[in-house]
């Protein structure tokens, strides 16, 4: 979707003003620790993919999205997801009181002993797919002009532009389908776009942007 999250190339957000690496705290508020841990622990319940989680975050109201800290976005989205999946109710959230226990066996709970094993293993998204890749390294491609309503990982700023394939990663879980609960693979490529093609003649001649794009985003130029 053409949501507020698709920020590449936008103006008006101002300076970065990074805190110095040596002194920046990892968490700026104590609750951010819990926001991280709750988001990860609830993700481990197995009720949604990372793409579904991203899809919910980018569907937040644009004003809320752009004015919230990253951990607040996570909490807003997590709360909605838990309600959508029936693991929490709005009433429980309003009253801070448990009204009904979840159906046993419909989820798995991450216990303390499993944490390191689970996160050291991660969740690879590479997968074998039957069809051969349509493109190879060195090919020029056109990033499709597409504007899907649902989740997608093709940023607006590359749509309709020609780039060159510089890496091929094989089959990877296709984010657009995964966000709808369908886990299937498509060939994934890294595509190099020259800065002048994206941004015009004022961009530096040699500069470029590399973007990972799945095959359904691409066509022959």
């Amino acid at each position: 979707m053409n949501g507020p999250h698709d920020m590449g190339g936008m103006h008006a957000f101002g300076a970065i003003n990074p805190e110095p690496e040596e002194t920046e705290p990892l968490f700026h508020e104590p609750w951010e620790r819990k926001a991280l841990a709750l988001t990860l622990a609830c993700g481990a319940l197995g009720q949604w993919s990372i793409d579904e989680a991203r899809s919910v975050r980018e569907s937040l109201d644009p004003a809320l999205y752009t004015s919230s800290s990253y951990y607040r976005k996570w909490i807003e989205a997590l709360t909605r997801q838990m309600v959508e999946k029936g693991l929490l109710t709005s009433e429980e959230l309003e009253t801070a009181t448990v009204r009904q226990m979840p159906e046993p066996g419909s989820y798995r709970v991450l216990n303390a002993e499993a944490v390191d094993k689970v996160y050291s293993a991660g969740g690879p998204t590479s997968m074998d797919i039957d069809n051969a890749p349509l493109f190879q390294v060195g090919d020029l491609i056109l990033a499709r002009n597409m504007n899907p309503i649902g989740h997608t990982r093709i940023p607006r700023y590359v749509r309709g532009h020609v780039g060159e394939i510089v890496l091929w990663h094989g089959g990877h879980v296709f984010a657009d389908d995964s966000a709808r609960g369908v886990r299937r693979g498509e060939h994934l490529y890294t595509v190099q776009f020259m800065a002048r093609d994206l941004w015009g003649p004022e961009a530096a001649a040699h500069d470029s942007v590399m973007v990972d794009l799945w095959e359904p985003y691409l066509e022959a130029p």
Binding site: H5, D6, M7, G8, G9, F13, G14, N17, P18, E19, E24, L26, F27, E29, R33, K34, L36, A37, L38, A41, C42, I50, E58, A63, S67, S68, S69, Y70, Y71, I75, L78, T79, L87, E92, L93, A96, P102, V109, A112, A114, Y119, S120, A121, G123, P124, T125, S126, R153, I154, Y157, H169, H172, T190, A204, D207, S208, V209, M210, V211, D212
Partner: protein, 208 residues
Amino acid sequence: MAHDHHGDEMTEPPSEMALRVQALESLLVEKGLVDLKALDVIIDRYENRVGPRNGAHVVARAWTDPDYLERLRTDATAAIAELDYTGRQGEHMVVVENGPKVHHLVVCTLCSCYPWPVLGLPPAWYKSSPYRSRAVIDPRGVLAEFGTVLDDDVEVKVWDSTSEVRFLVLPERPEGTEGWTMEQLIPLVSRNSMIGVEKARPATEATA
């Protein structure tokens, strides 16, 4: 709405969020969906055990071991796994090498994708709207904000992390460090140099 351009992290009324998160946690624990002890282990893992020192180890090893560098170029995920840095948000790694004529910079314009096993959790500015919006359209302006000014003939390559592939920048080895051991080099490898917004610390800043 308040927006102070110091990164989004500073704009929140903490008390309201603190109460909401506490209430959410209590409900989830009472419902048996979340194990309180697991939350503590997750926090400890990413606060104390998984951070940019891991990435600095990878970089310093690559600077001192040409065979390792070659393995990193061929299959970064496997080479990094040799050092036991694996898992969530680092399942598929690519290493990009900075040099005298090329400078790589990593961003995630769509969210906050970042190579956790080697760099830990991202800093607030990496997740901020200013960085995400500007890194692709004005990389040289962004770099200048970090004090990194590049000659015009240096090629700037920005990597937008739009898939589950994660990128680690291998910064240039600082001058004057010939013969240094891996242990001596590690403190020169800043987190920011592995995102690509800065160069590695100069030899004169070695703390050893």
